[in-house]
């Protein structure tokens, strides 16, 4: 008998894979942009969940790393460097260095203090980006060209762009699946449930948390690289604290305890926005209380709900 979770993963992934075909059949090319954007935020949420769900570190500043990725494309593009083999590694390394500095200071702290310091650093980078009017600032800047990967991969083709995004998401999911069972992943999970005990067992918990934070940030920057390319646009608005909040919502809505949950969360949240905004401009009036209800009554998110039905059926 198929379990609801397995079905959900298969259905969601197949649906995403079929989007270009549906878009072509119904002559609705903007579907590619809409669903590409959903996948990009799913990548961001999956990256965040590496430290949030698995490590218990509530980062309220992951939008900063999306921003670093996006600005790596945007800034190099303004100087005429549109080679993706230069842009992408630089963006990822940039996010790695930034998160190394931010993490080195932040992961010493826990609880409310960790939330606040990640927020502070993200705001720091947001104001830096909004002050850089040469690169668009708050108004944003349109890219002259998308990242160029030679004749191998033409990102100007929206279908290719879409499948690249989907491929990145799949790779990240596989990576995270392995990460959870790796030595590092297990130590991180141990730190989440009892850091003092892990330290007593002789683990340098600070170092493990820092490494996980840096990996998560570098993954998150990839969603920024993709976002800049998909929208042909870079703006400081990518770094606002509301964005960081949305990433947290996606993870919690989908379910923190799983690798795939954030994908469901990102899809549910952004699809709700898309659909609800066609009915009324006041859709946030419904989303706010809905969120509150999810937080109060459905702590394990949609993933937990799928699992709950599973338990009832077998038990």
């Amino acid at each position: 008998m198929l379990r609801p979770r397995t079905v959900a993963v298969a259905v969601v992934l197949c649906a995403f894979a079929a989007v270009p075909i549906i878009a072509a059949t119904f002559a609705q090319p903007h579907y590619l942009t809409v669903f590409g954007r959903i996948l990009i935020f799913a990548i961001g949420a999956v990256s965040l969940n590496l430290v949030l769900g698995h490590g218990g570190l509530v980062s309220f500043g992951h939008a900063a790393f999306i921003g670093i990725g996006a600005y790596a494309v945007g800034i190099l593009d303004t100087y005429g460097i549109d080679n993706g083999w230069i842009q992408w590694p630089l963006g990822i390394i940039g996010a790695g260095l930034a998160s190394l500095i931010i993490g080195a200071i932040s992961v010493r702290l826990s609880g409310i203090y960790f939330i606040m310091i990640t927020l502070a650093f993200a705001q720091l980078l947001y104001f830096l980006a909004s002050g850089l009017t040469a690169f668009g600032g708050d108004d944003g800047m349109t890219l002259a060209a998308r990242s160029f990967f030679g004749s191998l991969l033409n990102l100007n083709n929206q279908v290719v762009m879409y499948y690249v995004i989907l491929l990145v998401l799949l790779l990240f999911l596989l990576f995270e699946q392995r990460f959870v069972t790796s030595r590092l992943g297990i130590v991180i999970a141990g730190i989440r449930s009892n850091e003092v005990r892990m330290r007593a067992l002789g683990y340098a918990t600070y170092r493990y948390k820092l490494i996980a934070f840096v990996i998560s940030a570098m993954m998150c920057s990839v969603s920024g690289l993709l976002l800049a390319n998909l929208t042909d646009f870079v703006t400081a608005q990518y770094l606002t604290w509301g964005r960081s909040g949305e990433l947290l919502i996606m993870v919690l809505l989908g379910g923190m305890a799983s690798t795939f949950g954030p994908v469901i969360g990102a899809t549910a949240l952004l699809l709700f926005e898309e659909v609800a905004s066609t009915f009324t401009e006041h859709w946030q009036l419904a989303l706010g209380p809905l969120l509150l209800l999810v937080v109060i009554f459905a702590q394990d998110g949609i993933w937990g709900w799928l699992g709950g039905r599973e338990k009832r059926r077998t038990g």
Partner: protein, 307 residues
Amino acid sequence: MNWTLFAIQFLNGLQLGTTLFLMSAGLTLVLGIMNFVNLAHGSFYMVGAYVAAAVYGATGSFLMAGAVAVPATFLLGIGVDRICLRRLYDRNHLAQVLGTFGLLMFFNELVRVIWGPAALFAAVPPGLEREVELLPGMAFPLYRLLVLLAGLLTGFVLYLFIAHTRLGMRIRAGASDRGMAASMGVNVSVLSMLVFGLGAALAGFAGYLASPIVAVQSGMGDPILITTLVVIVIGGIGSIRGAILASMLVGVIDTLGRVYLPSLLNAALTPATSNALSPAITSMLTYLMMAAILAFRRQGLLAARTG
């Protein structure tokens, strides 16, 4: 250096500081007593400003506007606390952040539904729009001066209330050790509801005072909420004295930075670039201060006396 200009800008900084203090006093107590992160605190500021602007527009009496706006936000705070937030008291910070984030979205949209998407502009009450000469050659808008004084007065009253009344003593007891206060017979549940309402009313009062000098619009509480979080972290979570010190510090640094940084940067950069960069650098400075405090002195400048 022009000392008159400096003094005026310093007063402007203090005026921003009083707004920040009114906001942070409630938030720091809620965080200190209930260990509760409330992102919807900025919404009380916004609702206070909207109600004040609407009542002032309808009745023409600015005093009446305050008499409606402050109790309204007090009741709103208590209502929100009883209906949904109390369910989040015992949950982790992540749940609290996301739950109140949902509330913030709701209120931002609600005011847009009620008052429309355009910003409201309330006029400064007649008779108060002139400037007064504080010192020879140093004129300052009367209304801003009154806001500053009202804020300082409220701060002083609040200090007396917290430090010298029985209820204030209970609040302090709750802030330093909630469990011990409860076992000594303090009804912490009622106490936290009152603190929540008081915090909301202070935020609403700040919104009321600000309504004639800022654009009253949806989302106006969000940036001030984040600055308030900076203030309470710098001052020390749960500490009223810390909130006073930090809000004045942040208010003055922010205001003076915006005024003086462009001329400092002009030496190195083109005027257009330095004009765009200096507000950014000023804001970054406050966040840098917050990060430095968290990294080296987590308890804040003036820590609440907790165990």
